[in-house]
Subunit: 223 residues, 2 copies
């Protein structure tokens, strides 16, 4: 999940170079955290690093790559937060279904709190779109697919009979639904849930969806 440097450049990477790269990523992270993706400027980075603009392009191919590197760090923290929430979900004194619901609710709320605490960095994960011709590097795709496991696992506990493929789709749907409530809500869009009610509404929707899904499965999966 952590950033692994490209082996080709790694070979001739001195200690110094690696440190500079880390400093660059840290500066970029601070810039994005402070002012969103739009605040990531080559000249500003050079100023905080105390080097010339051109130096940046010896450490990194693009500013795009830099965004991806920062995104990788953000994803790692998010992954940890979701995993902790799932592990810490308390289902004591409840049947299996209720325990599973609580796990899903805990993961959703952890996602909400992460997004709220690190809004700018979190948003950067989704605002960013690679230029259509350039493909995402492999390490970046690996980062992202790890996320939805934290929804899929509790979902397997909730709906033991569901075949894994359908479950995968459902996990993605639930993840995206919660994401949507947060994305619009934290943006202050007018169609959105006001920030004060975000966590409560997410919990409500997650519980309702779980309940409906269990009921549907109980009477036989139609489609």
């Amino acid at each position: 999940m952590f950033i692994t440097l490209d082996p080709i450049s790694m070979a001739k990477d001195t200690q110094r170079r690696t440190e500079q790269r880390a400093a660059l990523i840290a500066a970029a992270e601070a810039a994005i955290a402070g002012g969103g993706l739009g605040a990531l400027k080559a000249r500003d980075l050079a100023a905080t690093l105390g080097c010339a603009v051109g130096a940046i392009y010896t450490l990194v191919a693009d500013l795009d790559e830099l965004v991806l590197l920062v995104g990788s760090r953000t994803l790692a923290r998010l992954d940890a937060a979701l995993a902790a929430a799932d592990a810490g979900a308390d289902g004591a004194g409840t049947d299996g279904t209720e325990a599973a619901v609580r796990r899903l609710e805990a993961v959703a709320l952890a996602y909400a709190r992460f997004a709220h605490a690190e809004t700018a960095l979190w948003r950067a994960l989704f605002e960013f779109r690679m230029a259509p011709e350039k493909a995402l590097p492999d390490w970046s795709v690996a980062d992202q697919i790890g996320l939805f496991v934290h929804v899929d696992a509790p979902l397997a506990a909730l709906l033991p009979g569901l075949d894994p493929e359908r479950r995968g789709l459902l996990a993605r749907s639930l993840f995206s639904a919660v994401h949507g409530i947060l994305a619009l809500g934290l943006e202050g869009k007018l169609v959105a849930v006001p920030q004060a009610h975000l966590e409560a509404q997410i919990a409500l929707v997650v519980r309702a969806a779980c309940r409906g899904l269990v009921a549907e499965q109980a009477e036989g999966p139609p489609s």
Copy 2:
């Protein structure tokens, strides 16, 4: 819902000017539809309009205002599509609950189809963020709040006992949830629902949520 021109400039607006403005908006719409918000460039607009760059700024204050004007048109079409879907939802031979569920499902699917058919323009509605210091013009906020009525009305039929404030929050939550599934799905993000399954998953989630909500209300609203 339609664009009303600013009365101040309206006073001295000739026929010709209004036409140019319309042409500008049309060109901007085409540009965004073709290449997203990033493809809206002042010089390109001037080229397609056959005028100088400076002329644009006599018709419109900013490119931001232009984005808002295009957004207003998009919202009008979206509003019409959702209204039609709600009106056309067929609940024949079903009880009231099932009829309401079908209305909500129809609205959600209409949203999905609109987003799919006009992805770039639809995305522009949400990608765009006004500079923090400048406030949204009044006509733009009026456009947006009209949207969620198409969720709120069927929801009132589904849950007659729910008080309007809570219902409003729920309508916003459901809207945002469906939006999230679409937003991630149409972007091809990795945590997202694959495009081929978008409509089916949206229908599934909407139905499950409805079912869960009705069940919860039946046994008494706790919180």
